[in-house]
Amino acid sequence: MAVLITAESKIICQGLTGSQGTFHSEQAIAYDTNLVAGVTPDKGGMTHLDLPVFNTVAEAVAKTGANATGIFVPPVFAADAILEAADAGLDLVVCITDGIPVRDMQRVKRELKDSKTVVVGPNCPGVLSPGFGKIGIMPGYICEKGKVGVVSRSGTLSYEAAVQTTTAGLGQSTIIGIGGDPVNGTNFVQALELFLDDDDTEGMVLIGEIGGTAEVEAAEFIKSWKKKKKPVAAFIAGASAPPGRRLGHAGAIVSSGAETADAKKEALRSAGVEVADTITSIGDAMKKALGVS
């Protein structure tokens, strides 16, 4: 039944009336996503893309029963938007916004420590479950309903993984873009946990990159699997990156030995993960890990 976005999802868009919110909501509707409302402060009462617009998330939840949101607001307002969504009791908050100050995300992460709300992002391409819809900016046509769960820090690399698993005839249960910021919501371990418990997911593709130690923690988590296990294939971007330079994603900077591509690949290999040396062979690596030819 896929994860995060399922048949039960009722989705709103925070920032629906803005240009990004409008464009990507149109795309989501065309992909048969169950989008039920929009939220833009001071624009409550209007109708946009045939959807009702509310001033607050709480109002949108009360009137539509929404349980998930996609955030497309400018960086200055994004932390507030995430906290508002969690406060309104939503199960899933996907924040697409790029450029949020780290201090704002630190506060969000701490505030939501014991919250039931799952935050994905920020600075991410979103979440897509073929057959159930999407939140974010991922192109729907490269995906196909199937059995691989994809989790990626990078947006465009998640598209590469989608194309390859589609071409390989495996398809995807859900694709989760966790984003490239140093302090974010859902991490690799939490995404893998979701996939491990999902009956439709038979194997996982993990796409990481240099910087931080989230991939090493994922490797430790995979090693700890006892009875319940699923095959994992992985790629780590940035093997050729010079140390100490930030490459695009704020999180992609190597500041210690454990954060290099080689160290991460080694950790994943030691956990039994099928590691691809190039992104172009991630589909084959997943097939190999699943034991299909």
Partner: protein, 389 residues
């Protein structure tokens, strides 16, 4: 964003962090004036560049006369320092910092950074001062003390006392360190820093605690709320092409290779560099043109890539996603015409209307080498560069 040591110390001092007296100088005579006004009989002349390892590279000198202050400043200004952080090209010294001396009893390490796993500002401290913390982490990880600060509670004195006691400080110096840490944390959060490093932190013979060196990095995403910090930017320390890229909101980083690359998305850009290297080539840059690979952005990107004289070929790798490939192809063709790309150009497109996009490239009359996949593109550009040279 990075700043110089003397700027970092000025900022920290405003928040109450203990530093030595000193002043910046752009000429040898200014350096002498700074030293004379400060008084004393011992000064340290320090080259100001945005890179660590200055001491080992001969960029920090202790001198004992005003004449030697001037002489040393003359030697350092205009000199190119090569440290393990500058790369082989090194960095030219354009400013020196003249600081008073102090009687050092011991050297410690103190850092503050944001721990990704917990999302908390975390203090790193070690008795191994003056050594790179990465090296300490590798050789003796137990010598690093870590204390995480809850962002909702903020810095409490007991966090600081934990650090002082962990470092085994005497009561007087311990008390001075607590005051030091409280001030340092205030600077960290109020200015949206991503890292502050005090290495070494010095315990003086009269039992005070002083930042002998200081490095501050700022969170670029938060610069919009710190205009005064942004004014400290030293454009001489930054690559001109990288600055130009920033003005067009492109992400460009110059590297040492000969194959330029233009990619959308940071992850895909890194993976493209990786695959060029695996195919036997050497990437000349990292360049993320972002989601909207429009004609304007692609034109600027081509100009940036070709401004590097080492570039002998260019690989374009665009995954259109929601953008249509025909629109992207139109942009590439128009930009390649405008910029006159004179080196081999390989283009790989993927996304909506990809066949239409490929047709536009083929019909353009330009010598664009089409590629089916990323691997195919990397092989083709490496081959084309070999043949052209």
């Amino acid at each position: 964003m990075n700043i110089h040591e003397y700027q970092a110390k000025q900022i920290l001092n405003k928040f109450g962090v203990a530093v030595l007296r000193g002043g910046v100088a752009y000429t040898p005579s200014e350096a002498k004036t700074v030293a004379r006004e400060m008084g004393g009989d011992l000064w340290v002349v320090k080259a100001q560049i945005h890179a660590g390892g200055r001491g080992k590279a001969g960029g920090v000198k202790v001198v004992k006369s005003l004449g030697d202050v001037e002489k040393t400043a003359k030697e350092l200004l205009g000199k190119t320092l090569v440290t393990h952080q500058t790369g082989p090209k090194g960095k030219e010294v354009k400013r020196v910092f003249v600081e008073e001396g102090c009687a050092i009893a011991s050297e410690l390490y103190l850092g503050m950074l944001i721990d990704r796993e917990t999302g908390c500002v975390t203090i790193l401290a070690s008795t191994e001062g003056g050594v790179e913390i990465e090296e300490v982490a590798r050789k003796s990880p137990k010598k690093i003390l870590k204390v995480a600060i809850d962002p909702l509670v903020g810095m409490q004195p007991y966090y600081a006392r934990k650090v002082a006691s962990g470092l085994g400080l005497e009561p007087k110096t311990g008390g001075a360190l607590v005051k030091f840490l409280l001030a340092m944390y205030r600077a960290f959060t109020e200015l949206d820093c991503s890292q502050i490093e005090i290495n070494p932190l010095v315990i003086t013979k009269d039992e005070t605690v002083i930042a002998l060196d200081a490095k501050i990095n700022f969170d670029d995403n938060a610069l919009f709320r710190h205009k005064d910090v942004e004014e400290l930017r030293d454009e001489d320390e930054e690559d001109p092409a990288e600055r130009e890229a920033e003005r067009h909101s492109l992400n460009y980083i110059n590297l040492d290779g000969n194959i330029g690359c233009m990619v959308n998305g940071a992850g895909l850009a890194m993976a493209t560099m990786d695959i060029i290297k695996l195919s036997g080539g050497d990437p000349a840059n990292f360049l993320d043109v972002g989601g909207g690979a429009t004609r304007e952005r692609v034109t600027v990107a081509f100009k940036l890539i070709l401004s590097d004289p080492n570039v002998e070929g260019v690989m374009v790798n665009i995954f259109g996603g929601i953008m249509r490939c025909d629109a992207i192809a139109d942009g590439i063709v128009a930009a390649a015409r405008e910029v006159d790309v004179h080196v081999p150009l390989v283009v790989r497109l993927e996304g909506t209307n990809v066949d239409l996009g490929k047709k536009i490239l083929a019909d353009s009359g330009l010598a664009i080498i089409p590629a089916e996949t990323m691997a195919d593109a990397a092989e083709k550009i490496v081959q084309a560069v070999k043949e052209a040279s």
